[in-house]
């Protein structure tokens, strides 16, 4: 499985290089602007704050692009010609699928760490903001609640992608059509699963697990954020259910790959 991950990463080296250089360039550009403005502290903190947030938004775009690429390459493996290589290797379906999940986690971590770095760097340089931010950076990085939140988000994203992969694979086992009839079907499967999960989650929260929440205060070490320092209540039941569905989707997709594939 790790060999497959290594080859996938090698195949994408150009893509990663271009993406990361772009993000670095954007960060550096903003940073030099901030450095140039240092002598002119007219700008108020909220306006300065906008720049790191814009940067965070760019990182979200980067992540969205990588996610689309992940889904497209997976679909190509099932519907395109390279699948004949991947699936004629002596590997179990779980290993092939696992390599995709590892890549996804890798992309997510790169985005998270890269995004955090550029936002923190920019916040530390922002005129009118840097003085407030600097003393808190170390403490913020050690906020357990923040990392728990990130982990939760990662689990939900991975589950979502596992369900996507299941949809694509299921579509492919039904038809050998190259005309992406299967993808239409897989979209329907994904929507149905998401809808069912949401309904069931709400039902469980209302009937069985009323008032079960996860209360985290990820921003508690950033007092300058104002209202944001209040503890936040995160739903617990629906995401857990969703993650369980993700695990189920992984198991079922692996089984389909081993037994029911029609390339």
């Amino acid at each position: 499985m790790w060999k497959l991950v290594r080859y996938q990463l090698r195949g994408r080296r150009l893509l990663y290089t271009i993406g990361l250089i772009t993000m670095c360039a954007l960060t550096l550009y903003q940073a030099t602007r901030f450095i140039g403005m240092r002598d002119n502290p007219v700008q108020s903190a909220p306006i300065s704050m906008g720049v790191p947030l814009t940067m965070a938004f760019f990182w979200v775009l980067f992540y969205a692009a990588m996610t689309v690429i992940n889904i497209v390459t997976y679909t190509q493996d099932l519907y395109g010609d390279t699948g004949y290589l991947v699936f004629s290797l002596p590997l179990r379906g779980a290993e092939v699928l696992g390599s995709r999940i590892v890549l996804l986690v890798f992309d997510t971590l790169v985005t998270l760490l890269g995004g955090m770095t550029s936002v923190i760097v920019l916040a530390c340089l922002a005129p009118g903001l840097s003085q407030q931010v600097r003393p808190y950076v170390g403490r913020f990085l050690l906020t357990g609640d923040y990392w728990v939140m990130c982990l939760g988000v990662l689990a939900v994203i991975v589950s979502f992608m596992a369900i996507m992969f299941f949809g694509v694979t299921f579509g492919k086992t039904l038809t050998n059509s190259k005309k992406h009839l299967g993808s239409v079907f897989s979209a329907l499967v994904v929507i149905a699963v998401l809808w069912a999960s949401a309904q069931l989650g709400t039902l469980l929260e209302m009937r069985l697990f009323e008032g079960v929440h996860l209360t985290l205060s990820p921003w508690r070490n950033l007092p300058f954020l104002g209202l944001g320092t209040q503890p936040v209540q995160f739903p617990l039941v629906s995401p857990s259910l969703f993650v369980m569905l993700g695990v189920l989707a992984f198991a079922m997709t692996s089984w389909l790959m081993d037994r029911k594939l029609n390339l």
Binding site: G11, L85, S88, P90, R92, T173, N176, D258, L263
Partner: protein, 236 residues
């Protein structure tokens, strides 16, 4: 003689079509089998089933005594009829990839085959012509010391010179402990390599047997028999 491939009553149905129906055939160890038939006769489906890429609807398929799966993929060297290599890889990287995943991959032989085929390992797959990609793919497939070679249209994109290079490599590397199943439209060019031939039509076996016995019995070449079989089928 032991059978490396045993297929009995194999049927493959898709939602709207039946690709194979009740196919029964054996490939003896050490034999080269020609899988013949027009487009859509089920050759590719049958080969993909042997390679473990398509799951049978019913019937049994055994490769060296095992149902297609992880274990058979380790001993089956499959050449699909389309380019299955990632375009970003160089010829050498593709060799590394094969060597990493297939323990029967012989790097020395790969280099020898690249030399025969006039390819160098630095060339990018994406920059090669169709015929050169074909030769690179064949070099990879033949560099494995597999038990079963499954070759779908191995001579499709090759010019006559390359075809004779490939045929020579095929004879030079053929061993008595392996078997080969290959499909081709160029019956006349390769019929001298077949031990056995199977004629498929619309997913059914219409004629099969040892090539030499068919020649003796019918006093005709395999190509003539091909024309006769499918000419007959079409006018039916």
């Amino acid at each position: 003689m032991s059978m490396l491939v045993e297929i009995s009553d194999l049927t493959k149905r898709y939602i709207t079509t039946t690709a194979l129906s009740d196919v029964t055939l054996d490939v003896p160890e050490g034999h080269i089998m020609g899988l013949l038939g027009p487009n859509g006769s089920g050759k590719t489906t049958l080969m993909k089933i042997l390679a473990g890429l398509v799951s049978p609807t019913s019937g049994s398929v055994l490769v060296d005594g095992m149902a297609p799966g992880v274990a058979t993929k380790a001993i089956v060297s499959f050449l699909p009829d389309v380019n299955h290599l990632d375009r970003w890889m160089s010829v050498g990287e593709a060799g590394d990839f094969y060597a990493d995943f297939f323990s029967d991959f012989d790097r020395k032989r790969f280099q020898e085959l690249l030399d025969i085929m006039d390819l160098s390992s630095g060339q990018k797959i994406g920059s090669l012509s169709k015929g050169m990609v074909e030769k690179a793919r064949l070099s990879l497939v033949f560099s494995r010391r597999a038990r079963l070679y499954v070759l779908d249209e191995p001579f499709g994109g090759l010019d006559p010179l390359a075809r004779s290079q490939v045929l020579d490599a095929l004879v030079a590397n053929f061993r008595t402990d392996c078997s080969m199943v290959l499909s081709t439209q160029m019956v006349a060019d390769v019929e001298r390599f077949f031990d056995d031939v199977v004629f498929l039509d619309r997913g059914c076996v219409v004629l099969s047997g040892e090539a030499e016995k068919l020649r003796t019995r019918r006093g005709a070449s395999i190509e003539d028999i091909y024309k006769e079989v499918y000419g007959h089928v079409e006018t039916r």
